[in-house]
Symmetry: C2
Amino acid sequence: MIHVTIKDVAKRLNVSVSTVSRAFNDKYDIKKDTKELILKTAKEMGYHPNPIAKKLSQNKSFNIGVVIPEFMNSYYSEIVIVLQEFFISKGYQVLLMQSDENEEQELKNVKTLINNMVDGLIIAPTVGYRNRPYFIEKYNEGYPIVFLNRIDETLPASKVIFNNVKWSFFATEHLIRQKYKKIYHLSGYNNLCVSSERIEGYKKAMNKHKFPKENYKIIETGLLAEEGMEVIEDLIFHHDIPDAFFCVNDMVALGAMKKLKDNGFKIPDDVALVGFTETRIAKLVTPELSSVRQPTHDMAKKAGEILLNRINNPDSETETIVFNGEFNIRKSSVRDFSIPPI
Amino acid sequence: MIHVTIKDVAKRLNVSVSTVSRAFNDKYDIKKDTKELILKTAKEMGYHPNPIAKKLSQNKSFNIGVVIPEFMNSYYSEIVIVLQEFFISKGYQVLLMQSDENEEQELKNVKTLINNMVDGLIIAPTVGYRNRPYFIEKYNEGYPIVFLNRIDETLPASKVIFNNVKWSFFATEHLIRQKYKKIYHLSGYNNLCVSSERIEGYKKAMNKHKFPKENYKIIETGLLAEEGMEVIEDLIFHHDIPDAFFCVNDMVALGAMKKLKDNGFKIPDDVALVGFTETRIAKLVTPELSSVRQPTHDMAKKAGEILLNRINNPDSETETIVFNGEFNIRKSSVRDFSIPPI
DNA sequence: ACCGTTTCCGAAACCGTTTCCGAAAACCGA
DNA sequence: TCGGTTTTCGGAAACGGTTTCGGAAACGGT
């Protein structure tokens, strides 16, 4: 239990602490023999460098702050796993905080992390735009930050995002090709940029195919299954069920699907459904849910790389990486398999 | 960007650094006036104590290591959220690592955390028993560790666990009461203690009601939906579908449900299903899945409290807390609503 | 006015590293 | 052999706090 320090090793070998330190950090001049001897006896003695002392003397925390909006969808879990692995392998630790889709919580999280002297931040913002100015201020002060998903392309900062417009356009157009005539969009939150972008893609497709006004509608829902359910209940009450829904995410789609099935609607014959940001549950429900898959793994890794680069090279360029996905068409949106899907 | 230190504050007020330090740590003698003055000007100057320096001088990292087996089921996400919140509020940071159900990875995780000088560990072990001796060794050396879920009651260490035997007994007996005559158990991993315990509960119920051998069977599956699906395929191939399944978790149950439905089985009329460790998806599938809910939130919080207590009070007693749950009966296992469920 | 407490504060050691500076040692070519 | 480089290493300051120790100041009672 007693911690053996660099001094103990130095004393044992009658060398100075600086020499021992050098043995552990290649970058300084040290004879190969002594280096090996030191490493060997250090190992025998059970010496491990104290990371805290290292942090203090190097004025670096070797900590990365990661702020995510929520944890319940597997999307962010996966991102966290990738980031953890990436940063650990580079000698950093990840401090994770989640904001529970709450702007105040998010601000607190970021401030906590900055006070804890993280060397950099990866932020997947929560719903709302209130904290934007603060983030940008920090970014402009030179604080290494990479934004991930949930941020619009125009933000003047490094970011890794998904091409929501394009893929929601595809998803919507797929429904149109399948000859659904009345297609509603369950859109998440109005003050959430991924919602806006998915709305834009939806509108683009609907306009391209000249859908009349009464056949399309955008309904704000939130991001949870329960909210999808509520909307369907409401629509049923008003006898306003269209023949297809394009949903902001899988959870809302699954909530909607459940309520529709419970009320006797056949899917996809009466009503079709398409989700977004594919979860593993998409393939577990009946019928299986069509959804747009995001390259979560690659997006997270890229964000890590950009951040690390910025930390080690403070005046590196601002980078914006836009990822593309994959539209997985399943039974929930295919009434007629003879039609080419896209 | 320039960091203002305790010395700057001291110089500005012509006091010593020790006085400033005292102002920030109540425990030492300091006049109320000077304390307030110091805090005020410190704030004006934008001073924040450097947590790294504090860690070094106090020989504490104020870090807690949390090791979980996986991240894809919402169960551990929820646990992580609770632990994060709890420890942050106590001035600690959480270092999270996940083992991907891999023993070697788990050992690496724990060692990494110990080398990083975490003040304590919360471990939800992965599948397998190989790392047990190492954990116990550390525990006996006095390292503060609390085990969470996935550990058997006999382990001589502090732990927070769920009464799997009892609740899987209930779940199984519920199926029996519903007059299902041939009930199979999809059991997870043989070298996973929660599996063993759930098997035990299942057996207890089956034996109590004197089920003949041919009407029960335990099938090892793993913990993923895909594995549930594979087992069903296999059983269909061998014309060996029983009229009920009690499953080790919701994911396996959902995989099984999907495959059964795809093959024309009606649920719960032809086959009933019960899951465990309820996920939010249980209510999204058709029919809704019966499952045992665990008090995840309370379990995590308790684990945090025990650990903190042990850190601050090294010779506190070993504690074992066994939690109970709640059996949520839904349509997937109720053929006849006139029968009292339990 | 004096002495014993109590309150408050400064000096300095310490936590375990890294790193700058300079010096000793080794090496090299003429 | 000698002067100049290059290696290799030790000493000590620095990182930014906490904490022990002891002494000055304030206080309170006689």
